[in-house]
Amino acid sequence: MARPSFSQEVGNLLYAAKGNPLNACIQCGTCSGTCPAAEFMDYTPRRLIGLILANKKEEVLASNTFWYCASCFYCTVRCPSDIDIAETMYALKRYSIWKHVHQEGLLGPTFSETFVKTILRSGRSFEPVMATSYLFSSGLKEWIQEAAMATGLMLKGRMPVLPPRIKRLDNFKRMIEKVIPLAGAS
Amino acid sequence: MTEEKFEPRIVAFLCNWCSYRAADLAGTARIKYQPNVRMIRVMCSGRVDPDFVLKALSLGADGVMIAGCHPGECHYLEQNYKAMRRFAMLKHTLEVFGVEDERVRLQWASAAEGVQLAEAINDMVDKVRALGPLNWPAKWSENGRVKAALERLPEEHAEAMEVPA
């Protein structure tokens, strides 16, 4: 059987009952008109769908569009062709993490991976780990702002000092290994 | 006669207004599907007497498809709903006889759905081919006719049918 095209690959990631839901796109731009982050994206969500359907794999993976998706799901509920656009953005994030291909300088992929690793280690998330993991790789100004805020929160008793853990961590890790065998290693 | 590969024979009852026209359209559009299905035109899916299905299977068909207009689009207003209800009862009976679910299928196809009808036919042929021959006539000659089977039903299900006092 022939290798699936890029658009088919993305379509398959959407777990739709039948066919590729992206094929239904009429390029109306409702998603992009709705998107709160559209102006910061290199391609609007509509253009990204167009690029996927045109099998422009490199352009799509090099784009920052899906990393700018804030998961607000507004596009999904408004899409006149019933395409789950936010889910498509998730699918592209997963695809790009698996393939280790993404635009340079983006914080999103590292953030997602670190976040997940934290949870896989402890069962819960821990804000300070988040901060140190990404903000070092971003600008100094942001780091200072973030640190100032963290201090403020700490003073108000809202910043945890010790990382939280769930109790049945061993069971939890074994459970994870059932789903993704590699996860336990990290 | 065909030892090497089993090719099922399937009978399809197509309603005159939607599904027969869907078949017309599949033809006009040259959409290919497997040759195993032989069609009978009826005016409406509501015309399909469950006896026709039983008869087809007893004559040696390996599967039966009933195709009609989509719910809400029946040219006789609502007769396909009646076909749907009748189909549910028929399925129940066939289950009792041990006929696999995939062998009898109710398919909606509008006059514009040539592709969908062809896909449904291919899907059904594949599934029935995987199941193998039904061999009802042979089974019947072993066990007597359907009537006898029906008469035996209460016996076989005596336990299930027993009503606690």
């Binding site: 731009g29 006149p80 | 809400g72």
Partner: protein, 675 residues
């Protein structure tokens, strides 16, 4: 005596012969199938030579049955039935089987195709031997026509028929005829005023000796069948005596109660409690709106009665019922406008200066609430910029998937009117510009030249939440300009929503009442989408205008005229043939269980109380056969689709397996069905 069957296999050029080995099949059929007297293959069976072949064989070979294996019976069944007829054989003794659409065009493997063709022919040969001679029944056609709906479709149909000399009953739900068109200002693409072209037709209807106009009326009940419908019409009480009222309008002038007109003025203007929807209403008798009339509310006032010069006001009037007979019915019930409040992101009702397309029509109309001035909701301020939102509720899986087809042109018309009357900047936000009829694309070009701005993108939302100074106090239309690939926020003073056309809210009930089907969306279903657009599956019921699907005025008028032409044909001939494919009940076998009674959606099955048996009115029966399949006593038989015929076809289709399992190789025994 056994039948003599003729089998004819068409090559259809190479369409069939290129895949199916037609010669082999013809030879096989002649040698292997019982009672086949003649078996031939021919280049084009549907040609006159092909038909003559059948005619000659009937005459010379004494054929009693004919099977034609060719294209779909939907194409040529009539042709071959005629050939049989010409040869002296009852046309219903012919059976077609489709070896083109169902065999040669869909199967690549030649051997498999030939096998399937054999099976199909075998089925047809078995079946045709059990065919019976049938005769279509003839019934007279009442010359009166009932037209439901007095919009432009109904008006056109009524005038066509009436002018040709045929009597018409025109029934309209509202107090006046005119429909949506009466609400419009200009009509695209010529920009002639709707009233100027509509009102002469309306008064023609009002004055026509052949038209009985019943407004403020509804069809209460209809029974009967093609040529012979019995109709009961409810005339709602107007509280104004139509015989004495002169339509002078003094009552309206004197009525002290003003209310918002939600129907004709779509909430944009006021009317009195006694009113006519608009000045040119036909008929011009007013009606009293009892829900808002002071007299009906509080028992006093009667200003209208006091001032009426002809004593036409009658507070005691009751609804009345009129029974009429009609041979045919034309349904021209029109459309509803999509409720734009279902899309709160566009802000209608929340943001004052968001208007629907119909509200804007009224605003443009010189006799409308603003006397034709284009102003904001405050009634005085002219907009400096206007955005027009296309596809509101159309082309959207969340609402209606279809294209409403008139909105693009409507938007262009609005753009022109706005620019002409106010000089404002106009932005049209569209997904695809659809201008497909005569003069439409030229109109689009004209608007481009006039400087209307076009943004290709479906509007995401309309908001008043400003981000920057230019947006303060404005409506901001947020949309992706898909041709530029950027999100735009366009600040405007006014927004017009091009609302979708939807089927009438009660379309399904009306469909059931008249025995016709609706599409999934609720549009009335035509007999054939291309070749029979105004007839329906129910003989004698025709459809016209937007009730069948969204359409503009020219298409609506064309359908009104087409429906009238179809009716004229029926009335002129004076009788109608009814297909003999109907069910009948053998009263000897009927146990009176009444299972079939409730199954028939056409109410063709009656129960005879005295005899305790059911009976089928063959004139009402459409031949679906559902009752035949349901009768537990097998007392119902369906002509041309009898159990025997279908089972014989089944056995023929499975001839190869039947032969191999021996015990069932016998001739069809229709009664021996396992049950």
């Amino acid at each position: 005596m056994s039948e003599k069957v003729g089998v004819y296999i068409c090559h259809c050029g190479s369409n069939i012969a290129g895949v199916v080995d037609v010669e082999e099949v013809a030879k096989w059929a002649g040698e292997n199938l019982d009672n086949v007297a003649v078996s031939r293959d021919y280049k084009f069976m549907c040609s006159s030579l092909g038909q003559e072949l059948i005619e000659d064989d009937i005459k010379n070979e004494g054929l009693t049955r004919v099977v034609v294996a060719a294209c779909s019976p939907h194409l040529h069944e009539k042709t071959f039935r005629r050939a049989c007829s010409n040869g002296g054989l009852n046309p219903y003794l012919c059976q077609m089987t489709s070896i083109r659409e169902q065999v040669s065009w869909v199967i690549e493997d030649k051997e498999a195709a030939t096998e399937k063709a054999k099976a199909m022919i075998s089925g047809a040969v078995r079946r045709v031997q059990l065919h019976e001679e049938l005769q279509p029944t003839e019934v007279p056609v009442n010359p009166h026509t009932l037209i439901v709906g007095g919009g432009i479709a109904g008006i056109q149909a009524a005038l066509e028929l009436a002018d040709a000399g045929y009597p018409v009953y025109l029934v309209e739900r509202e107090p006046s005829i005119g429909g949506h068109m009466a609400q419009f200002d200009k009509t695209f693409p010529t920009l002639d005023c709707a009233a100027c072209i509509l009102t002469p037709k309306m008064s023609d209807v009002g004055n026509h000796p052949n038209i009985t106009l019943m407004t403020y009326s509804e069809v209460e009940d209809i029974s009967g069948f093609v040529g012979n419908f019995d109709v009961r019409i409810k005339k709602k009480a107007r509280y104004v005596d139509e015989d004495t009222c002169t339509g002078c309008g003094i009552c309206i002038e004197k009525c002290p109660k003003k209310i918002v007109d939600d129907v004709f003025e779509v909430g944009m203007g006021l009317r009195k409690a006694i009113y006519r929807p608009f000045p040119q209403a036909v008929p011009n008798f007013p009606v009293i709106d009892t829900e808002n009339c002071t007299y009906f509310e509080r028992g006093k006032c009667k200003a209208c009665e006091i001032f009426c010069p002809t004593e036409a006001i009658d507070f005691e009037q009751q609804d009345t019922y009129v029974d009429v007979k009609a041979g045919n019915v034309i349904l021209a019930t029109g459309y509803d406008l999509f409720d734009v409040k279902r899309m709160p992101q566009y802000g209608h009702g929340r943001l004052a200066n968001v208007f629907t397309s119909l509200e804007f029509e009224r605003m443009c109309n010189a006799s409308g609430p603003t006397e034709g001035k284009i102003v904001l909701r405050d009634g005085v301020t002219q907009p400096e910029s206007v955005a027009i939102v296309h596809c509101v509720g159309s082309r959207d899986e969340n609402y209606n998937t279809y294209c409403s087809s008139i909105c693009c042109m409507g938007a262009l018309k609005f753009g022109h009117l706005v620019m002409e009357k106010t000089g404002a900047e106009v932005y049209s936000c569209y997904i695809d510009m659809r201008t497909y009829h005569k003069g439409y694309e030229e109109f689009y070009n004209r608007l481009l030249e006039e400087g209307m701005h076009f943004i290709r993108g479906k509007v995401a939302e309309v908001t008043d939440a400003a981000r920057i100074e230019e947006e303060e106090g404005k409506l901001i239309v947020q949309v992706e300009d898909t041709l530029l690939g950027i999100q735009r926020r366009v600040p405007v003073d006014m927004v017009i929503l091009m609302a979708a056309l939807e089927p009438r809210a009660d379309a399904r009930e009306v469909g059931l009442q008249f025995g016709i089907a609706c599409s999934m969306e609720g549009w009335f279903t035509e007999r054939h989408p291309k070749l029979d657009p105004v007839a329906t599956m129910t003989d004698g019921i025709f459809i016209a205008g937007a009730a069948q699907g969204p359409k503009d005025i020219p298409a609506t008028v064309a359908q009104g005229a087409a429906a009238a032409a179809r009716v004229q044909g029926m009335v002129t001939i004076g009788t109608v043939k009814i297909e003999p494919v109907v069910a009948t009940i053998n009263e000897e076998k009927c146990s009176g269980c009444r299972i079939c009674n409730t199954l028939c959606p056409f109410n063709a099955i009656e129960f005879k109380e005295e005899e305790q048996v059911s009976f089928i009115n063959t004139a009402l029966c459409k031949g679906c056969g559902t009752c035949v399949a349901a009768c537990p006593a097998q007392a119902i038989s369906g002509a041309h689709y009898s159990n025997g015929q279908i089972l014989a076809e089944l056995e023929g289709l499975l001839y190869d397996v039947v032969a191999s399992n021996g015990s069932h190789a016998a001739q069809a025994e229709p009664e021996a069905v396992p049950a």
